[in-house]
């Protein structure tokens, strides 16, 4: 392939003096191939390297009164208890008197997303047009992936109001009963 003009090596005694052709042609195909391969590599690594940042906002902390809990309407809120083994236990209303009793679901589009989509339609019908509030309560047996997954789910389903709050003892008991409090 490479066509370098070779010097003929003939001396110039006798015969016509030929004008030497300047510059040979080098086949650059392989070089271009390599260059493009490297370009592709660097392009992909520079943009894919950057991690994503998921923004989270927490409410202001009331340091004077730790038990200052905001009252929210029972028929607007569903509570998600993040348990172990990548499972969620959720209920609608208050735990002592739930509108829907606690049910265990998995993460992902066939699990919690269906619940959220259904409740997003159902809650405004029950609460007179007011939208759904989701309370996320991670237990100490849940892992970071669960929290990120559920926050991501909020974005996908487009739940406007949600919050991360502290789990209480009754809810831990509930998770234990449902077998979602394992190490």
């Amino acid at each position: 392939m490479a066509e370098l003009n070779q010097d003929s090596g003939k001396g110039d005694k006798g015969g016509k003096v030929r004008a030497k052709k300047a510059g040979g042609k080098v086949d650059l195909t392989a070089m271009v191939d390599l260059a493009f391969l490297l370009i592709t590599f660097f392009m992909l690594t520079t943009s894919l390297n950057k991690p994503q940042a998921m923004d989270v906002a927490m409410p202001d902390k009331n340091k004077i009164d730790a038990n200052d809990n905001l009252e929210i309407a029972d028929n607007r809120s569903i509570t998600l208890l993040l348990g172990s083994d990548n499972k969620i236990s959720w209920y609608y209303g208050q735990l002592s008197n739930p509108i829907y009793p606690p049910t265990t679901v998995a993460y992902g589009k066939d699990g919690i997303r269906q619940v959220l989509l259904r409740m997003q339609k159902e809650v405004p019908a029950r609460a007179g047009g007011k939208d759904l509030i989701v309370v996320i309560r991670p237990s100490e047996k849940s892992v970071q992936r669960n929290l990120v997954d559920i926050l991501d789910e909020m974005k996908i389903v487009d739940v406007k109001r949600y919050m991360i709050s502290k789990i209480n003892n009754d809810e831990i008991e509930l998770l234990k009963r449902e077998g979602l409090f394992n190490d």
Binding site: L28, T46, A53, K61
Partner: protein
């Protein structure tokens, strides 16, 4: 009559220009690619569908894995001011050489009383095994060193931005952002401690660092 010559079609294309362009692009990408140092604490972040990217500058990152907490500020100049403030707060003196080394340190996970010792080690010996993590608890006192580090880094960012106000083309990037880079398998109590530490100093907004996942 001479023989009819079969005309050979030339198959070679002049690649010179293409080669020039591709190498120009290659040079550009090589130079813009930031050489990433291997992170001391290996964190396998969970994936999310969030489109926002983590900023390159003006951010402090708290890394969590295996129950250990590491902290790092992106901007080397802010790092230096942060260490100055911390040295005053905890009454630990650092030499000029220490400051220089701290400016190069991307992240660390030692109590402040062991920081000089860490800085005296060469780069390749600052392994994860010898760094126990930054002490953190639920208080707002000096024993919660993460609280102090984040607070001093935020103050240092403001100080640094203020010192650059006179410069041309300077756009104030605003207060420092805080990102939590937690391992996917990290249990919630550790993450909760960090969140509470941030909330205690009214840093109610922060980010979780995640990988990218295609929307399902």
């Amino acid at each position: 009559m001479g023989k009819a010559k079969v005309k050979r079609a030339s198959t070679s294309i002049d690649m010179t220009a293409m080669c020039d362009v591709s190498f120009l692009l290659l040079t550009f990408f090589v130079l813009t690619a930031t050489a990433r140092q291997p992170e001391v604490l290996v964190v396998d972040t969970p994936a999310s569908t969030t489109p926002d990217k983590l900023p390159d500058d003006n951010v402090g990152i708290i890394s969590v894995a295996k129950g250990k907490i590491f902290f790092g500020v992106k901007n080397p100049n802010v790092r230096e001011i942060t260490l100055k403030n911390m040295s005053q707060k905890y009454n630990i003196a650092f030499s000029a050489e220490d400051y220089e080394k701290f400016k190069q340190l991307d992240e660390f996970g030692v109590p402040i009383k062991n920081l000089r010792q860490l800085l005296s080690l060469p780069n390749e010996q600052r392994k994860e095994e010898i760094q126990p993590g930054i002490p953190v608890d639920s208080t707002e006192t000096a024993s919660n060193e993460l609280y102090s580090w984040v607070q001093e880094a935020r103050k240092a960012t403001i100080e640094f931005n203020r010192s650059r106000e006179g410069e041309r083309d300077f756009v104030d990037p605003g207060p420092m952002k805080v990102a939590i880079k937690a391992d996917a398998e990290e249990k919630y109590p550790t993450v909760n401690l960090i969140i509470e530490t941030l909330r205690n100093q009214k840093q109610n907004k922060f980010s979780f660092v995640t990988g990218l996942r295609a929307e399902q």
